[in-house]
Structures are given as C-alpha cells and as structure tokens.
C-alpha cells in the first residue's frame, strides 16, 4: 500500500505564557498508508490535536519532518480537510453556505455546490436546516454540519478531531455508521481522534495509542475485523479489554499483553 503521511522524529514543544516548555509531542515516527482509517486514541493532553494540526499543515513541528503526499507540509493543502474539536462554522453564514464553503473557494458553480452540500446535509439528518444559522442549531447539529462541510470537498485525507464528542449516544452511533459508509465507498484516508476506546475499535483499521506528558506513541496496531463491526463479538471484546488496560496505565504492553494481542489476532 502507498504511504500518504509520514512523520520522522517529530517533536513539538510549546512555550507557555510563563515561559515553561511543554513537550506536547516527543519522538513521533509514523507512517500512514493510503485508504486507511486511523484512530488516534489517548487521554486528554496527550497531543492528539497537536499531531493532527501538524499533519494538516496548520502548525510547524519544532523538530523533525512531516510529509503528506510525498511533500514536506508547510501549509494546509487542498487534498486534505479537517473537522475541529471546537465549533468552527462561520456564524454569519447559514448552514448551506457553510457546507458549500470549500466548494465556493474552489470556484465550483454555486448551483452545483449547493446540490452537493444539500446531498450531504440530507445524509446527516440536516435537511430543512439549510437556511438556518449555526446559532439556531444544537451543538451536535453544528458538529454534523462541520463534518458535512469537510466532506463536501471530497478530500483525499480527512482529519477529524473528536468529531462526535458533543453528540448524544444515539446520534453518535448513527454518525459512526454514516462515516463508515462514506469511508467504505471510496476509501479516502481518515485520521480520527477520539478518546473513546469503543469508538476507535468500531471505526478504525488501525489504532494508534498515545500517552500524555510527553505525548508519545505507546501502541500501534491493526484491527482485523470486517465491517460492519459487531460490538458484541468476542474479538471486539478482546481489543476493548486490551486497550482499556493500556489506557488505565498498565502499559508494559510488550510482555504481558503481546500474548493477549496474539490471541486476538488468532481468534
């Protein structure tokens, strides 16, 4: 498979207001292949958002190299779009004008852009809200609109930063399904940040686990389960238990858990 994102020896250090250094990311080496659904899993403050911003070209690494699609990345590229953890719709634009934004700057004719936007909004249960403004929508609806906006430009790479964090359990499941079918349809690369273990196993082809202070990759493995995934299957449970232990700090994975890992893969 073709490599699409590559990080070499990446460090990212922030300097706080008081002058302290915060090592947000340390020694990140990562190769992401095309058409994969990557889930970044880790506790709060482990540098997931930072990593995503580096890959999106919104930020420079303090050290090391970030390559996307074969080129060192300096600023955002038009092949990739992103869904942010914070609300990011333009408050003075109605929903359809927000969703069509990426198409508008790509000079897609307005009618065509609206058609695409309307189609996606329909899939996300937002039909009838085209002319509403973000403040008239609930937080979860706004987030869905933001996802629609990022998907509307049919990106090669889609970065998603805890996109379902604000959704209720039911909508969350629905959106996960929707995302899976979007991904299965033409297998774009997705890098998806979450701190829900279950969500990561449900969605990803590969899970990368990070630890905090400093932000490091502590585990990285494939999920060999066919889609659509069954949350109640034994294999799912194995992955779940393993990741939970890891997240709860029993992180000497190499010995104790490699056994479980192997078992999972043999099931």
């Amino acid at each position: 498979m073709k490599e699409i994102i590559r990080l070499r020896e990446v460090n990212k250090t922030f300097t706080s207001e008081k002058g302290h250094n915060i090592e947000a990311l340390q020694d990140i080496n990562l190769s992401i292949e095309e058409s994969q659904f990557i889930c970044l899993l880790g506790p709060s403050g482990s540098g997931k958002s930072t990593l995503l911003r580096l890959m999106a070209g919104l930020m420079d690494a303090s050290e090391g190299e970030v390559e996307v699609m074969g080129k060192s990345i300096k600023k955002p590229i038009s092949e990739a779009s992103m869904v942010f953890q914070e609300y990011s719709l333009l408050p003075w634009r109605n929903i359809i004008d927000n969703v069509a934004f990426g198409l508008e700057v790509r000079k897609v004719p307005k009618k065509e852009g609206y058609a695409i936007a309307r189609n996606i909004l329909g899939k996300f249960g937002l039909e009838g809200f085209e002319k509403n403004y973000p403040y008239e929508l609930s937080g979860g609806m706004q987030q869905r609109a933001a996802i629609a906006r990022a998907m509307a430009v049919s990106p090669e790479i889609l970065y998603m930063d805890e996109p379902f964090g604000a959704l209720d359990a039911h909508t969350r499941l629905q959106m996960q399904q929707e995302l899976i079918s979007f991904w299965l349809k033409d297998k774009r690369t997705i890098v998806f940040v979450t701190h829900s273990v279950e969500e990561a196993i449900f969605l990803g082809t590969r899970i990368i686990v990070m630890s905090s202070r400093p932000g490091r990759i502590i585990e990285d493995f494939q999920i060999d389960l066919p889609y659509p995934r069954d949350r109640w299957s034994g294999k799912f449970g194995h992955y779940f238990n393993r990741l939970m232990d890891l997240m709860n700090g029993k992180s000497s994975i190499t010995e104790e858990y490699s056994e479980v890992y192997n078992q999972c893969n043999n099931l």
């Binding site: 911003r53 999106a56 919104l58 600023k75 955002p76 038009s78 990739a80 779009s81 992103m82 942010f84 914070e86 609300y87 990011s88 333009l90 408050p91 003075w92 934004f101 990426g102 700057v105 790509r106 403004y133 973000p134 403040y135 008239e136 933001a146 906006r149 990022a150 430009v153 970065y159």
Partner: protein, 277 residues
C-alpha cells in the same frame, strides 16, 4: 398593544421635559433666557427660511453634514485598512503602533491652534482652485482646519476598533477555512472582515459621534461662517436664544438619526453576533 405600551413608556420623560420647559418659559417670561416651545418648533417646522442673515437651517445642516462626510470619510478610508493591516500582521503593528500611540491621547480640539496656523482659512476651494459660483460657496465652507479636526476625532476610534475586531477573530475559524482550501484573500474577505464587522461598525459609530462633536465645536471657532455650530454661536451673539436652542435640538436630532442608521444595520446584518456563543 405591547408595542404601544413601550412607545408610551419611552415618551414619558421627553414629554414631561417639554411640559416643564413650557411652564418655566411662561413663568420666566423672557425669551432671551428661555423661549417658549412654539418658537423653537416654529423654526424647526420651516427649515427653509433664512435665519439672522446666515442662510436657512437646511443650508447650515447641509454644510455641517458635508464637512463631517468628508472628514469622517477620510478617517474610514484610512482607519479601516490600516486597522486591518495592523490586526493581521505583527510586523506592521510593531512598525506603526508606537507612532500612532503618540497621537491617540491628544484631544482632537487641542489641534485647533496648530491647524489654524497651518491651514488658516484655506478650504477645499483653495486646494482645487475654484474661485466663484455655487460650487465655490460650498467648497469654500469646507475648511481644511475643520476637516482635519473631524478626521482626527473619528480616526482613532475607527482604527482601534478595527484592530480589536481583527485580533479577536477566533483562530479556529481561520484554521478551518484554511483546511477547506481558502487562500489568504479568502481568509481576509470571507473570514476576517465579516467576523470583525460588528467591531468595525462599533468603531464607525463611535467615530461618527466624535466627528459630529468635533465639528460643532470647530464651527464655533473664529473664522467659521456657516454650519450648525456657527449658527448657535452667531445666534447667541445676537441674543436669539430660540435659534440657539433650535441649533442644539437639531444636533440632537441628527445624532439620533445616525444612531438609528447604525442600529438598523446591526439588527439587520449582525444578528448572528448577539446570538452566537
């Protein structure tokens, strides 16, 4: 019904005020101290009649408005783009803000003596070289000294609020459009400008208020021969207190009118701002 009630409530004090005025003016019975209500209303109702030899109320309002329009217009043309540049670029901010801050604390009217010394009674007519005709009458009334003072008054509120608006734009908004393929111009025109528009508008509103205040004061200075401010001083000199009061009322009415325009724009275009989190 509810609307009617609101209107009645807002009118209580103005009406009480007018009644007090009328009672006082009758008790005092000296129109050189406090003229009766109907004298002022009479002048307001016939704005075209010539007053004490300096033209009609309309003419003087017209001259005042033209002065404000030009001085204030210049302040917008310079203040908004400059504010945007300073707000966007740290370098430009470092380059300019120290210099601009030297002038910010100076009250606009403190410039009067200096400006009179520099420009004297030169007007736009002098600059463009018109020496006669109707156009001359207008342009000759647009004294450079007044325009400068109006400009100074309006410039800083506009500049400051524009900078504030641009700097306050949520970073995620800019980042999100960058990842959607926006270039620098898109960011400026489709994000920074609309996002800071409410703040810019506040600057324009304050700027216009200050401009209007500066104007009326500037028109009271020697050398002025028209305008609402001049009308007031001149009427005072010839003890026409009714005209003085008419002038003051006019200033207030025009102020309210400006305010109304801004409120309308804010309500119509910037509802998202008051509603957004």
């Amino acid at each position: 019904m509810k609307k009617l009630k609101e209107v009645v409530i807002t009118l209580i004090f103005p009406i009480l005020f007018l009644i007090m005025w009328q009672i006082l003016s009758i008790r005092i019975d000296n129109h050189m101290i406090l003229p009766e209500l109907q004298r002022v209303i009479g002048i307001l109702l016939e704005p075209r009649q010539s007053l004490i030899g300096i033209g009609s109320l309309f003419w003087n309002i017209y001259i005042s408005l033209m002065r404000v329009l030009i001085g204030y217009g210049m302040a917008i043309i310079l203040g908004v783009p400059l504010g945007i540049m300073i707000g966007c670029s740290r370098k430009i901010e470092k380059l300019l803000s120290g210099f601009l801050n030297l002038f910010r604390p100076i009250p606009p009217l403190a410039w009067v003596p200096l400006v009179l010394a520099w420009f004297g009674i030169a007007s736009i007519a002098t600059v463009v070289g018109v020496t006669s005709g109707k156009l001359y009458t207008l342009l000759n009334n647009l004294k450079l000294s007044m325009l400068f003072i109006i400009f100074m008054g309006a410039f800083f509120p506009i500049l400051t609020n524009t900078i504030f608006g641009i700097k306050g734009v949520q970073k995620t908004l800019v980042d999100s459009v960058l990842t959607l393929g926006a270039n620098k111009w898109h960011v400026l025109l489709k994000v920074l400008l609309p996002a800071s528009m409410p703040s810019i508008l506040t600057g324009l509103k304050i700027g216009l208020g200050v401009a209007w205040m500066c104007l009326v004061s500037a028109e009271m200075l020697p050398g002025s021969i028209a305008g609402v401010g001049y009308l007031i001083t001149h009427a005072y000199q010839v003890t026409r207190i009714d005209i003085v009061i008419t002038g003051i009322v006019t200033i207030s009415l025009i102020g309210i009118f400006f305010e109304g325009i801004f409120r309308f724009i804010e309500k119509k275009f910037f509802k998202w701002q008051s509603m957004s989190r």
